[in-house]
């Protein structure tokens, strides 16, 4: 039995039950396709609205869209490459660091629907 099925929907909060449709891949795909559609519409909007321009680059059609897409993709790729140099195991600074410690149980209130 997969982890996903180990809980009876009846045990979920009302809102959680309503949101269960997100569990289906088909519905996630729908969200992604609507994002594509919205992005296309926003790109097209550049040709219809009057932009208040301060800088010449803003005149380029779809400037903000392209800037947002490529620079944030570049950000992620750059950061991923940085891992090669910067990533260390969790206990690198132990015991002078909280990273490899468990959070003290007496400060938590774990209530699990599985339990």
């Amino acid at each position: 039995m997969s982890k996903k099925d180990d809980i009876d929907p009846e045990n979920l909060p009302w809102l959680g039950r309503k949101l269960l449709w997100l569990d289906k891949k088909k519905n996630v795909d729908r969200i992604v396709y609507s994002l594509y559609a919205i992005c296309a519409a926003l790109f097209a909007a550049d040709f219809f609205i009057t932009k208040y321009i301060t800088l010449w680059v803003e005149r380029i059609p779809g400037f903000y869209a392209l800037y947002g897409f490529f620079l944030s993709a570049g950000l992620v790729l750059c950061a991923k490459a940085m891992r090669v140099f910067l990533m260390r195991p969790e206990d690198y600074y132990a015991p002078y660091d909280v990273e490899s410690e468990e959070f003290p149980e007496d400060q938590l209130e774990r209530i699990d629907h599985n339990g």
Partner: protein, 567 residues
């Protein structure tokens, strides 16, 4: 005027009274009443220097109320209220007292009219706040707290040294706008820079805040850094170097935020990035930009608190806030998820959310003032914020792969605190006029034009598109149980190693030198022992005859010398 006593005293009196109130709900109510009373009191205060104390021939201004100090004091009181509501369930007196002293000190510092009062409260925030880290009560938290305290107190010492030099230079201790130039002003600037987490002075922030307790991180996120922003706005508005410092601050933490695993630390990296926007605004120093910086600080306290509250709730229910361990929590913590998404939309500056009405002020002013590269950097940082705070946080905590964790929804007090934060974030975004009315300068700015809304949406949704494409193609870096080296590596690993190596080398040289000297001394002692020791020739027992012989020789020599003299 004696009736307008300092607001900070209200918090300190509250902290003292707390000991008399029994543990439980009555104490929790009291902890809410103090910031409410303070907020109402601040609201009612007239402008002016309302309280002067004379100490050692110095006039200390404890209550300088003007538009700049009032708005910061108000948001601090509001944040203290929300923080205490979020911490309603906490029964730990150390944290409760620390919270009151910490928020009181921060408000006291905001109202400080001179550098000595500022210094006292500046150190007050440092000392009170460290207990929110130590309250985790683990070895790691103890060490982290120590590092935090050293840096925070160090910032205060720099401030005091700067104040003393500034006083010698100008004969005044008034905390007013300063011009960088002398050593004194540079020291003060550096002290402010440490607390506002300038690049390379920043890492105490990412090191310490995620090490605090569930509620401690929420409370920490409000005061120290925003107090420093206030201090920069008061002392160094229009200082051009701040524009460049701020721009670097907006850009570099977002790289770390993308690969960081601890989601509370991701939020602290993004806190650092948000401070950058404020620092740029202060550096530009125009009325619009300063208003933008202050408005940004105001809304930032609300939505950053909200985001940290949501991650704190996840930590409280699951025991971890690490992206690699979480996922799929939306089913059982839907309300927390929704509040988190509202915080995420606010920090990403989506139209109709609070970040939009504040950040766009700074952004549009950079372009207008001709700082094109800075403008491009801020635009990049805005897209980046959306990536790591706007999408990554809710995505990896509540969606992504199902972790199998089915924690219960956050307790009512956490939900209520988050609900109020979320409500205010939307309310300010939809209707920013009341916030604008509180700002230090007259606001002639309308955030909502079709052009601004469309271009913002283009930037953000195409950043979301990039995220989606990267995740669906599997290129997006997965959350891994790991840490990333940051500038704190220098003083946690490099310096100790260098100092260790140097001290070992010095030790060796010392041993060699002392060894050499010791051998020489030993040689002398051995030589003396040989001649004077029990077996030495000079220690032998001489017979009486030889003494007589020597006396005869001496006598002969004396006679000979006398004879030569006479001749």
């Amino acid at each position: 005027m004696a009736e307008n006593f300092p607001v900070a005293f209200l918090f300190f009196a509250g902290a003292a009274l707390l000991f008399a109130i029994p543990k439980g709900n009555s104490r929790a109510i009291f902890l809410l009443a103090v910031p409410v009373a303070a907020g109402l009191y601040i609201w009612s205060l007239p402008e002016g220097d309302l309280w002067t104390a004379r100490v050692f021939n110095l006039d200390l201004e404890l209550m300088r109320v003007d538009r700049l100090s009032r708005i910061f004091a108000l948001i601090f009181a509001l944040a203290a209220f929300l923080g205490n509501l979020y911490a309603w369930h906490v029964r730990d007196r150390v944290q409760q007292v620390a919270t009151l002293l910490y928020s009181g000190s921060a408000i006291g510092a905001v109202f400080a009219g001179d550098l000595i009062t500022l210094f006292i409260y500046w150190e007050g925030t440092a000392i009170a706040s460290v207990f929110l880290i130590w309250a985790r009560r683990t070895e790691g938290a103890y060490h982290t707290g120590m590092r935090y305290l050293i840096i925070q107190v160090g910032s205060g010492v720099l401030l005091l040294a700067g104040a003393a030099l500034y006083w010698r230079e100008t004969g005044s201790l008034a905390f007013e706008a300063m011009t960088l130039g002398s050593l004194g002003t540079w020291l003060i600037f550096l002290a402010f820079g440490i607390k506002s987490a300038f690049p390379l002075l920043h890492n105490w922030l990412q090191d310490s805040y995620p090490a605090a307790t569930v509620t401690g991180t929420v409370i920490l996120s409000t005061f120290t850094t925003k107090l420093a922003i206030y201090a920069l706005a008061r002392g160094f508005a229009g200082t051009e170097i701040l524009i460049y410092i701020g721009a670097v601050m907006t850009v570099f933490p977002i790289f770390y935020a993308v690969i960081e695993n601890d989601l509370r630390r991701v939020l602290v990296y993004s806190l650092n990035n948000q401070l950058g926007f404020m620092v740029v605004g202060i550096g530009i120093g125009s009325e619009l930009a300063l208003n933008g910086a202050v408005a940004h600080a105001f809304v930032h306290i609300l939505y950053k608190g909200l985001l940290l509250m949501s991650m704190g709730a996840v930590l409280y229910r699951t025991g971890t806030a690490k992206g690699s361990e979480l996922g799929g929590l939306y089913k059982t913590m839907p309300l927390t998820m929704i509040f988190c998404v509202i915080g995420a939309a606010s920090i990403s500056s989506f139209p109709l959310f609070s970040g939009f009405v504040a950040k766009s002020m700074v952004l549009s002013d950079t372009a207008k003032e001709g700082y094109y590269i800075i403008w491009a950097a801020l635009l990049f940082a805005s897209a980046g914020v959306f990536h790591h705070s706007g999408i990554k946080i809710p995505f990896f905590a509540f969606f992504a792969h199902d972790s199998g964790k089915r924690p219960k929804e956050a307790p009512w007090n956490m939900l209520l605190a988050m609900g109020i934060g979320a409500f205010l974030s939307i309310a300010i975004g939809v209707y920013p006029a009341p916030l604008y009315a509180l700002l230090p300068y007259e606001v002639d700015y309308s955030p909502y034009s079709i052009s601004k809304v469309v271009t913002t949406l283009q930037l953000l949704l195409f950043a979301a598109l990039a995220f989606t494409v990267l995740v669906r193609t599997g290129i997006y870096p997965p959350e891994l149980r790991s840490i990333n080296l940051d500038s704190d590596w220098s003083y946690r690993m490099l310096f100790p190693r260098v100092i260790g190596a140097v001290s070992r080398a010095i030790g060796k040289i010392w041993t060699a030198m002392t060894g050499f000297a010791l051998r020489r001394v030993n040689g002398i002692i051995a030589g003396l022992y040989r001649t004077h020791g029990p077996e030495g020739p000079l220690a032998r027992v001489w017979p009486t005859g030889s003494m007589v012989l020597w006396i005869a020789i001496l006598l002969a020599a004396t006679l000979l010398i006398s004879f030569i003299d006479l001749a």
